[in-house]
Amino acid sequence: MSVAQTAGYVAPRHRSRSRWPIYAFLPITVMDFVLFVLPMLIMGIASVLVIHEFHVEYRLTANNYLFFLGSPLYLSILGKSVLIAAVVTLACLVIAFPFAYYLTLLPRHVQRIMLILVILPFWTSYLLRVYAWMTILGERGLINRALLGLGILDEPVRFLLYNNYAVVLVSVYLYIPYCVLALYTAIERLDTSLFSAAMDLGARPRQVFLHIMLPLTLPGVFASFIFVFIPMVGEYVTPTLVGGARGMMIVNIVVSQFQALRFGIGSAMVFVITALALCMVLALRRMARLEKVFGV
């Protein structure tokens, strides 16, 4: 025991340490409450009240939810949004997984450089990156110019942009860094001797991947899902810019309801989407048995 400790310096240090988590969590808690919980609370209330433009009648109604849930069109757009989000998430995982794995095998200094390259797109604005894709995929974009220049095409192709495929392609590009970082963190912690042990016992590479590697990296997969799928369901900018005339996703519909001054219906839609995202996270958590993986 040091002189300082015997002189009674330990107790105050312990006190400040015990308080520290409160201060550390305070900003994020306040931010979360003001920017998420409070607006959701207001929208939750708005979604069950009768509202005609700006005039609120203080009586409860389920009509706002019934309007949304009773509309085959809006439900199909919600379904389409979920499907596109699922495709983007899956594509990101398929591309990011091998990349993240081989990244962990590289020497440390190369890994650092590669990770910088992965996050490099974040140095430019999100909007700029979407516009960059528009100049690549457009009728007079880089791809068409190259194909015309090489004599492969006689006239530019138009299916590269302004459709759901373009939405998926651009979204995969936008979200893949999140996926790589989440998976890299999970894979880097793996004890690779487990793979050797499994192989020594006769497991094929596919079996090693499915029965050892994938279960152990589920936290990374789960984190990727949260980082990609959930924002993708609520994606607004990319479908608006690179989606075609029929490229509406559910958030476009929500925005249109608020533009029509239908605050009750818009709020109900937001609540349903949030509830859906929450349910999917919980379902995935249960399916993946993360408690087991995390050891809790």
Binding site: I77, R246, M248, S256, A260, L261
Partner: protein, 371 residues
């Protein structure tokens, strides 16, 4: 810059003298200096929540120099959104709000703007009669909004690909235009265009049957629509790189497309009717900087700024001053091309406004574009 200032003032005085109101001109000239004299008592800054592409740096810098008051510009994106924001923020947050045509009475009914007296302003006489007598914007002699820009929405077409000038709005449905049309994502305006094409009497106040016809028109038009971008700038870009061949833009569309490196485009006002707008700046009720806001509104309609604004943004404005100067400078063609010398068109336009059944319009659009 200096020469333009001198020239503008000189011509304004000349015009006043020609009209035999030299005395009034002197009075006007003295009133021009009024904002500067009154400056010391004004409280700022002026928070202007209004449309982009309507404020020029010179007028803002001069206003600050003369009054010491700063102008904070906040870009507006849509009338209904503006209404919601002003309703929430009120006069504490905004002093001025930019509003379109028939939305102005709606803002007034909702109690978010207040009327003000413009007849005593020096520039009042410079306003086109169509705006002076705009009964829907007036309560007694007072105005709900200070008129600013106006324009019909013209159907611009690429002359490289459309050789025969269209004669009817029906040309939009030509199969040769597959995925070659884009319109801004203003759902009610798209439906109103369809209403015009399908013969609705009041395209912004359609009956259920008319709305069903308009929806059907949009459904049939969808193969020709490439996309509904949120901003006009994207339409200009798409026209410039010839991704699309037809769009609806305000006056000066062809010039904007040409400036963006695009092809020669021509405008077409369909005989069946066409949408148009006029907009204005409204004084937010209970504005924290009311007097400064009114001083700014008076400041910006000085002939020199109106002229500079017209040349920069190439849109007809509510004040005729620059029109006379353009004629004297031999730029009548430009004024004509931009409809500036045709204020009679205002009465012929199907004016943008909030349909009483706005939700039905939005649903009709979503049902077609979302299916």
């Amino acid at each position: 810059m200096t020469s333009r200032h001198e020239w503008t003032r000189r011509h304004m005085l000349q015009r006043a003298a020609q009209a035999g109101i030299g005395g009034a001109a002197l009075s006007t000239a003295s009133r021009f200096a009024a904002p500067a004299q009154a400056a010391t008592n004004l409280q700022g800054p002026v928070n202007a929540f209004t449309w982009g592409g309507r404020i020029i740096p010179t007028e803002v810098a001069d206003f600050q120099k003369e009054t010491g008051i700063k102008l904070n510009f906040v870009g507006a994106s849509g009338n209904s959104e503006n209404l919601a924001k002003v309703k929430l923020g009120g006069g504490a947050q905004y002093d001025i709000v930019g509003v379109d045509a028939l939305w102005v009475p709606k803002f007034y009914q909702e109690g978010v703007i207040e009327v003000f007296d413009m007849a005593s302003w020096p520039q009042y006489n410079d306003m086109f009669d169509q705006f002076k007598n705009m009964s829907i914007w007036k309560v007694g002699d007072k105005f709900m909004a200070q008129p600013w820009a106006w324009s019909p929405l013209v159907l611009w077409y690429n002359t490289n690909h459309i050789k025969t000038p269209p004669t009817s709005i029906k040309f939009l449905w030509d199969p040769a235009l597959k995925q070659r049309i884009a319109l801004t994502r203003q759902q009610e305006d798209v439906i109103a265009w369809m209403g015009i094409a399908t013969g609705a009497k009041k395209p912004y106040d359609m009956t259920k049957e008319e709305l069903a016809n308009a929806k059907d028109g949009l459904k049939r038009l969808m193969p020709n629509i490439l996309k509904f971008p949120p901003q006009e700038e994207e339409l200009v870009k798409l026209m410039a790189d010839e991704t699309i061949w037809v769009t609806a833009l305000s006056a000066g569309g062809a010039l904007r497309i040409k400036d963006a490196g695009g092809p020669l485009c021509k405008g077409f006002l369909p005989p069946e009717g066409y949408i148009g707008y006029f907009d204005g700046d409204c004084l937010v009720k209970g504005a924290a900087h009311r007097d400064a806001a009114l001083a700014w509104m008076q400041h910006r309609v000085q002939a020199k700024y109106v002229m500079e604004n017209f040349l920069k943004y190439r849109r007809p404005l509510a004040y005729r001053g620059p029109l006379d100067v353009l004629k004297q400078e031999g730029k009548s063609d430009l004024a004509h091309e931009l409809f500036y010398d045709q204020p009679d068109l205002i009465a012929k336009m199907v004016v943008i406004g909030p349909p009483p059944n706005l939700g039905d319009y939005i649903d009709a659009f979503n049902e077609v574009a979302g299916s």
